[in-house]
Amino acid sequence: MPVEATTTTTSTGIRLENVTKNYGLATPAVDDVSLSIEPGEFMTLLGPSGSGKTTTLNLIAGFETLTAGTIAFDGADVSSLPPHKRNLGMLFQNYALFPHMTVAQNVAYPLRERKVPKPEIARRVAEVLELVQLTGRDGHHPNQLSGGQQQRVALARAIVFDPKALLLDEPLGALDRNLRGTLQAEIRRIHREVGTTFVFVTHDQEEAMNLSDRIALFNNGRIEQVGTPEDLYQRPETLFAARFLGDSNVFALEQAPEGDKVRWEDNVWAAEPGTGSAGDDTALVVRPEDVRLAPDNGETPPGANAVGATVRDLEYLGSYRMAVLSLGRSGVTGKARLDASHSDLTLGQPVTAWWPVDRQRLVAI
């Protein structure tokens, strides 16, 4: 792939400080959010619907006005700048292409607004259409293109004017699963080639993990945790984070950890200090892939924590199987990912579930 002339050499950092948006309801839509997005970074705002991630993106874009706080691009406060002066590209879930214009006219739109000379417009439109692999579609109208192609046109239109950053508002939400995968790869490639700061909003944790340099996890208008996909998956800080990204076995502790011991029901488990929260409302979480099953009352290796369990169900998921467990006396639902050696499990069978101490996390509830 040839390197494009549209590539920006300078990219922009975005800084949100104590950003709040209140629509006059009991709880603000965005509640005192501070976030620093590095130049050239692929930052994903992840969260369930209503968590404030889209509102935050709209605040960055300038479509919504701040109730409190500031937003700065490269240190310059843009809080009161209208959207058309912020110089940001934006992708929408429903593409938002202008239906009365051809592909070329759509892509030329931001350049014409910037009074770029005609020959240069033609050159840059051709270049960016090559970048998104839509050469030869210049004269088509949006309704003659498939959903995936339309989103590529929208992508071309959003990056052709070298925006300070590209904001992506669930751009793959309207596409089917296969196409989503293709376009994810496309977006990653274009992020690499163009080097612009990307701010991506999604509720799909797989998409977030797959694409992002860092993820800001939103819940109830606040950021629960910011970090690399690995940080969030391996070292969740809150129960919400542990549950939103992947499955977790959750043991809600009734007492705060005492030194290097935690209690759950009548089990006393080792817990190394510094492996997460140590407050009053704490839960111990373990990923299903870290849980091993041993015969009931069987031997567990040293340095493992164990709990009695019953096999309640076995799920076949193609590349692996998942055992659904009832854990402990209270029968809390848990999961363990099985490898081939556990093909002899039967429903209702009592087992011992164990995991290495260093694979567990203590998180705030």
Binding site: A61, G62, G89, M90, F92, A96, Y109, L167
Partner: protein, 276 residues
């Protein structure tokens, strides 16, 4: 007038329904005839040689047309009507479009109230509006002035534009406004390059209806007329009640033909756009 307004509906029905039962064709035929019948009498009468109203017409002559297009009273009235209708429909289109855009995304009680107020002239009896307009325009010295006609006719044209543009906005994706803003276009440029082209059919439809409404309005015009300034419908009314002048047959035919042509062109342009 009425016949031309219902024509698009009938055409739309015929296109959508596959097999039309015979009784429906019959009902449609009767209703269509009911609307068109007056025209079927007036147009032949306009070619009559008689100097009074007669049907069936006696002989063939273009005399009434000659009188219509050479008599300064009729010509002035025609010109006044065209000027008033053009200005009134222009004003109504600007106000109606702006109102439709402004009210489009509002749902509150105030927005509903504003919409009702803008629509109220459609359900108010013409004579009530005419008297109210006459009394206030007397004080403001607008009776018998071009501005008076234009303001009054624009007010009754606004609802047509509001309805037409509102329905055009129904298929308009508001995300396009955000997309345009994000691409660097200020609101006015966004309106000119994105919104207006996409709702142009609604705007044009509303403008034509506003024009026709003004062109054919007689009650308010009767109150506002002055010897120096009166519109074609008022002159037609005079010609029948005062002069018994059969030229009205020619003028009616001219008006019907002009308005029908305007509506047909509108429909033709509309259907061509749709098929693209």
């Amino acid at each position: 007038m009425t016949a031309t307004l219902t024509a698009p509906k009938a055409a739309g029905k015929a296109r959508k329904v596959d097999a039309v039962p015979w009784w429906l064709k019959l009902v449609t035929g009767v209703v269509a005839l009911y609307f068109v019948l007056p025209t079927l009498f007036v147009i032949p009468m306009s070619f009559s040689r008689a100097t009074t109203f007669q049907f069936p017409p006696k002989g063939f002559s273009l005399g009434l047309y000659e009188n219509f297009f050479t008599n300064p009273v009729w010509l002035d009235a025609l010109r006044n009507s065209v000027v008033v209708a053009l200005l009134a429909s222009l004003l109504a289109t600007v106000i109606g479009t702006a109102a439709a855009l402004g009210l489009h995304n509002l749902q509150g009680r105030l927005a509903r109230f504003a919409r009702t107020m803008l629509m109220i002239s459609i359900v108010t009896p013409a004579i009530v509006i005419a008297v109210a307009v006459y009394i206030s325009f007397l004080q403001w010295r607008l009776v018998g002035t071009l501005a008076g006609y234009v303001l009054a006719h624009a007010a009754i044209g606004v609802p047509f534009v509001l309805v037409a543009v509102t329905s055009a906005l129904g298929g308009f994706d508001p995300k396009l406004l955000r997309a345009s803003a994000s691409l660097g276009a200020p609101p006015v440029r966004t309106f000119l390059r994105v919104t207006m082209p996409l709702i142009s059919r609604g705007i044009v439809t509303g403008a034509v209806f506003a024009f026709v409404t003004s062109f054919d309005e007689v009650v308010i015009a009767l109150f506002l007329r002055s010897p120096a300034l009166q519109t074609l419908p008022v002159q037609m009314y005079n010609s029948v009640t005062v002069e018994i002048d059969p030229t009205i047959a020619a003028s009616s035919s001219v008006v019907v033909t002009a308005v029908t042509t305007a509506c047909l062109i509108l429909q033709f342009v509309g259907s061509r756009r749709k098929s693209r």
